[in-house]
């Protein structure tokens, strides 16, 4: 059983994550209302953009980072069966990240950092926003360090043994995050903060965008890896079957980390500061990185099929009906896969730059990433929370049927929210606009879709409240904690693994491969700014 100290550490992180989440959900609903123009009293670009900036930061950086840290500590200690290495340092990381979040919140909420979560220079936010965001990341680097140390200590203590898959995936994510966050860290430390403090007069926005693109793609894998981890290590067991293949799972995580990193220029397809050749190269990488996702999809479905057949399901599709749909983890994975498949089609459109021109920066884009991020990823965060909350607080879940309703409503709400959002994009609506003021006929066609989005958002908001209510009720219920004796269960592989190849049990080689690919993908594109005659931009207020 995991020690109380570790459980408290994990719970503290997860609570910060989910409080950020629920606050941001209220903002999300306000945003769909405001932008519809349905309630004239609500219209205010100042409030809208302060809200979208805060919503984006809370969802994209705070929910994710804290969730991943808390989940990582719990995975490390429960799968390796050792205490968290240097738990003081872990708390240190928690408080640094927390202080950073609080520090960034002040300018965000007072409208002094309405630069959105991508803070594209030369728009200038209050310096506290940049410093706060940096601290949030610095705290998470301590988490990365702890994961890497625990990984290698365990390997030393257990030579030749395969590292448990859950820990392998978590360490992969720590390594990925160190590489990923370096790009934006360079931008903030050498451009944004010096500019905000007046140490430098100008910055090159082209360089800033290039560095941000370094981070912007792999960060989505940072968010996604906990969901994939659950697919592999929890779902099969919860469904009553086996993990289809432990080794192929490792290959998938490695591919995700290695090819997820050097492909950020698909965010710059429409940018003038990078040449087409580099965009093509990153575009090719973007298609390659769909491999691990396709492999993961296969493995999960195969594990589910075995489960369904073990439970008596027959035929090509009969097994689907006999899955344990009332298990929250199983239900969540089915809904997550559905949203991933829908989102995958959208992703192919985004990745092909000829089609990308039609939808670049339109409402299609937030529609797409709400489906994959707020949909696929976050629904798995819910499922993980439902699974580990009882283990963390040593009390049974308050209500399983409420959990099932919550997952269904999240999915239904997401469908109602994101479908019209995609359509709006095809109808030419730009993303990131508050109430529409364009005086053209085109905008009339947008109205009904905006109304549908209000409704979808409302369903999701209700669902989010149910989630928080359920985990809070679980934790604070008067049930005595001593009768609870459930333990975490990791899925067994179908073919037990005795010895995994070194290369699938370690990251040294892969770390070097990443270094080479990053040098190829970003070396010249970044160095060019120092060899070209470029013209910097001064800072601009809001």
């Amino acid at each position: 059983m995991v020690n109380a100290a570790e459980r408290k550490l994990a719970l503290s992180h997860l609570w910060v994550a989910f409080i950020a989440f629920i606050l941001a959900c209220f903002m999300g609903e306000y945003q769909v209302l405001e932008r519809s123009g349905f309630i004239p009293a609500l219209e205010s670009p100042t409030v809208y953009f302060a809200s979208v900036s805060t919503h984006g930061v809370l969802m994209g950086f705070v929910l994710t980072t804290f969730f991943i840290m808390g989940f990582g500590y719990y995975i490390a200690t429960s799968s390796l069966k050792v205490p968290v290495w240097n738990i003081k340092l872990a708390w240190c990381g928690f408080w640094i990240s927390f202080a950073g979040t609080a520090m960034a919140a002040i300018p965000l909420l007072t409208g002094k950092a309405s630069v959105l979560y991508t803070f594209y220079l030369p728009l200038q936010a209050h310096v506290a926003f940049y410093i706060g965001a940096t601290l949030l990341v610095v705290g998470s680097w301590l988490w990365c360090l702890i994961m890497l140390v625990m990984f290698s200590q365990w390997k030393k203590a257990n030579p030749k043994q395969p590292v448990p898959l859950a820990m392998f995936a978590t360490t992969a994510n720590a390594l990925l995050w160190l590489w990923t966050s370096a790009g934006v860290a360079l931008e903030v430390l050498f451009q944004a903060i010096p500019l905000a403090l007046g140490w430098i007069d100008t910055v090159d926005p082209g360089l800033a965008r290039t560095l941000f693109a370094w981070t912007l793609h792999p960060i989505v894998y940072f968010w996604l890896i906990p969901a994939y981890t659950a697919f592999y290590v929890f779902v099969p067991k919860q469904a009553g079957s086996y993990l289809f293949s432990d080794e192929v799972a490792r290959v998938a995580f490695i591919l995700l980390v290695v090819f997820g990193l050097p492909i950020g220029f698909h965010h710059l397809y429409m940018d003038p500061q990078q040449a087409s050749g580099w965009k093509l190269l990153h575009g090719i990488g973007t298609f390659i990185v769909s491999l691990p996702t396709l492999i993961t999809g296969f493995t999960v479905i195969a594990s589910l099929e075995i489960a369904g057949k073990l439970r008596g399901g027959k035929g090509l599709f009969g097994w689907i009906g006999s899955l344990p749909w009332s298990n929250s983890m199983v239900l969540a994975v089915i809904l997550a896969l559905l949203m991933l498949i829908l989102g995958g089609f959208g992703g192919i459109v985004n990745a092909s730059y000829a089609m990308n021109a039609m939808i670049h920066n339109t409402a299609w884009v937030p529609g797409h990433f709400h489906l994959i991020f707020a949909g696929t990823t976050v629904i798995m965060y819910f499922a993980i929370a439902y699974y580990i909350w009882p283990l963390l607080v040593r009390k049974p879940l308050f209500s399983n049927s409420m959990a099932l309703i919550q997952l269904w409503t999240w999915f239904i709400g997401m469908t109602i929210l994101s479908t019209p959002w995609h359509v709006l994009g095809l109808l030419g609506q730009p993303r990131r606009i508050s109430t529409v003021v364009y005086n053209t006929l085109l905008t009339l066609a947008w109205k009904p879709y905006e109304l549908a989005m209000i409704f979808g958002g409302l369903v999701m908001l209700g669902s989010a409240c149910l989630f928080i209510y359920n985990i809070a009720k679980t934790q604070f219920s008067p049930v005595s904690a001593t009768d609870f004796n459930q333990e975490i269960e990791y899925a067994e592989p179908y073919h037990p693994v005795q010895d995994v190849p070194d290369y699938l049990n370690d990251f040294k080689l892969w770390n070097r491969v990443i270094a080479v690919l990053m040098a190829i993908g970003f070396g010249v594109p970044i160095l060019q700014f120092f060899f070209m005659d470029t013209f910097g931009s001064p800072a601009w207020g809001l």
Binding site: P45, T46, F49, S114, V115, L116, Y120, L121, P122, L123, D204, P205, G206, R209, F244, S245, E247, V248, M270, D271, P272, Q273, Q274, A275, S276, K279, G283, I284, F287, I288, L291, L294, I295, F298, I348, S352, Y353, A354, H360, N361, T362, L427, G428, P430, R432, S434, T435, V437, T440, L442, V500, P501, Y503, L504, M532, T534, F535, S537, W540, L542
Partner: protein, 207 residues
Amino acid sequence: MQNKSFSEQTQDLIGKWVDFIKDFRAQMTSIHVDRLERKWINITLLTVCLLVAIITIDAFWHGINPPGKVETIDSAKLHLSKEFAESNLGVQLDGQGAIVIRMVAGRYSFFPKHIAVPAETKLTFRWVSMDVLHGVHIPMTNMSTMIVPGYVAEITTSFPKPGEYPVLCNEYCGLGHNHMWSNISVIAKEDWKAPAKIIVNKEPDNG
């Protein structure tokens, strides 16, 4: 210190790589992959190769590329530049009779605020920003690009359908972002009249 000749050293190096690759292959082929799973992996590999082939062929043979001409300009001194001085903006014919449209994006509009262009004709747009990052999209068309201060965004396209279109800013550029738009009239080819003044050159004038 050993005193190895250069060729011995290269041989050592090659030997090391060969060993590494052999070892890597041996390890990777030792893992258990289910037969069905292997099939699936092969199918996905093939699909990915196909998609990669399509975009590569498009890029090299059909010339379908994202904008990618890296050209810098001083965004703070546009009014002093020859090319983007106010009198030089809008629709023009260059020496060869090709249509070039020079546009400046600034908070919160595109300048000139209205332009007229012929349908079904190759148009070269050159966009620059005078302040922050902007993006421009003409809905229902593929006239879309980011406008990054310090760079000229050049894009060539044509509009199949005549009509009145809005020109929308699609990258957040400040609190007035949703007020940032202008108009373009796409006129049937035969009704379109070339602008009277013809400016011939666009010399590089930055620096």
